[in-house]
């Protein structure tokens, strides 16, 4: 008996180019925002040499906005991607599967786009929940695949440009050639996709856009939950520092005129208060009132030159990001503090007691806690 395999037939409605164009352009916008904000985050966390001295310290809410947008646009892209893939799914079974070399290359690029897009949204979402079921390191892989996905997306738009143009509006020639009776059904589907985007955004975006925090249902962080009503990533116990004894603490400022301060001496220096957000790379952020000593004052006393870079070294014994670096823009910003107080109280050990860095427009992982040493590195 001969086994006869035939591709499945799709008689359902709305698997058409107009629906794909309508959803696809919103998905394209979401991916573009996600890619650009992701690049910004990557360069702020791992600045290449040519950029290291030019990262601006203003606006103070810069990283809060871009990283909040990165996570929000990624989450909004989830229903858009699933709806888009549903629309074009019958094309997976196009017959014959390969017509020419050009057709084969096009299908290959779409395959890469689909695999990469699902991969990026899934790994990004799992990362916000700090769930790492894969064997590789998240950051470099999420970063590399982002370039592949965005490149494949640009190629896809270029290949499909005539079809996109023919179905751009309700009056476009391609749209008019489609069955008229599908119109209301399509609008109903698009409204539902829009509602889904709104729903997933409303239930998660409060983790960074705090006016909407009362609607938080599925965010992995609540901006009000944590020691001193502020979330924490690495606790004092996890960092191996515990509560640092006041009399044992020393701050070393190493520069042309190095010096060492006790905690009492640090507290006796002129204190300043600033309102600055802490914005985590995983997407949550919250503004708080910080009090402490200006880093620029500490640097001046050490005789640091105006364009000096600063290395901030933590007393933590375990975990990454023990050392962070600052260009002169951040180091000289009057809002950059070696903070001793949070919302009028002493820092909780989990927030870096006795002293932590807080600087404007800077990723949370670089706001070094339990600071024991500032090094002027020119």
């Amino acid at each position: 008996m001969k086994l006869h395999v035939s591709p499945p037939a799709f008689r359902g409605r709305l698997h058409d180019p107009r629906t794909a164009t309508s959803i696809g352009r919103w998905l394209g916008v979401a991916f573009a925002v996600c890619f650009v904000t992701g690049l910004i985050s990557h360069f702020m966390q791992h600045p290449p040499g040519w950029l290291a001295d030019d990262i601006p310290s203003r606006p103070v809410w810069g990283y809060r906005l871009t990283q909040g947008l990165h996570v929000a646009s990624g989450i909004a892209a989830i229903p858009l991607l699933l709806a888009k893939l549903w629309t074009v799914y019958p094309r997976l079974f196009a017959w014959p599967p390969l017509r020419s070399v050009k057709h084969a290359l096009e299908r290959l690029s779409v395959g890469v786009l689909v695999a990469g897009a699902v991969f990026e949204l899934a790994t990004g979402l799992l990362n916000t929940a700090q769930w790492y079921p894969w064997p590789f390191s998240f950051v470099p892989v999420h970063y590399a695949v982002a370039w592949i996905v965005f490149g494949a997306l640009a190629l896809h738009v270029a290949v499909k440009a005539p079809e996109i143009g023919a179905h751009w509006s309700r009056r476009s020639p391609g749209t008019l050639a489609l069955p008229v009776e599908d119109g209301p059904d399509r609008r109903s589907l698009l409204a539902a996709v829009g509602a889904a985007v709104g729903a997933v955004t409303l239930t998660t975006v409060g983790q960074s856009f705090t006016p909407l925090k009362d609607f938080l249902l599925f965010a992995p962080r609540d901006p009000d939950k944590g020691p001193q009503s502020l979330p924490v990533n690495r606790t004092a116990a996890a960092a191996g520092v515990g509560r640092i004894a006041d009399e044992a603490y020393r701050l070393v400022v190493a520069g042309p005129r190095s010096y060492t301060l006790t905690l009492d001496e640090l507290r006796a220096l002129p204190q300043h208060e600033v309102e600055l957000p802490i914005a985590c790379v995983e997407g949550w952020s919250k503004s708080a009132r910080w009090g402490g000593v200006r880093v620029v004052d500490l640097l001046e006393r050490a005789g640091a030159p105006a364009h000096a870079r600063v290395r901030v070294v933590s007393l933590q014994l375990r975990g990454g990001y023990r050392v962070s670096e600052m260009g002169h823009e951040h180091a000289r910003d009057p809002l950059t503090l070696l903070a001793l107080r949070l919302n009028g109280e002493e820092l909780d050990p989990d927030h870096g007691y006795p002293a932590r860095l807080i600087a404007p427009d800077r990723p949370g992982v670089l706001q070094t806690k339990w600071v024991g040493r500032l090094e002027v590195t020119t």
């Binding site: 997976l92 490149g151 738009v157 440009a161």
Partner: protein, 134 residues
Amino acid sequence: MKALRVLVGTAGVALMAVGASLLTDVRDPTDVLVWLGGAALLHDLVLAPVVLLVGLVLVRGGSRGPVRGALLVAGALTAVALPVLLRPGRTANPSVLPLDYPRNWLISLVAVATVTALWAAARGFARRRRRPGR
């Protein structure tokens, strides 16, 4: 127009090459390829067929519009909630995953059902008023 298409397409291939070269720096790129392929297979062989099957049942049952919309919104909410609902093991500290996610998931489903029912009822009411005497 043709030139612009070629330009955008070439730029796309160049960006893909950047990504591929970044991937070769990763310690074990084969693991990444397995997960990339797995992502496509998971969608194409599991997720999409299940959604199409639900759609088929829906159309056979004569319902599109509001019911389809409600399922779509509930499905999207569930997809976004899966990591916080299912993450195994202890979290790094109590401020990670601090909410009662199973309860929140049920709340969201009830909210979707309620909004859909109210909306369908309001639409039916409006339709009856527009055609009095029928």
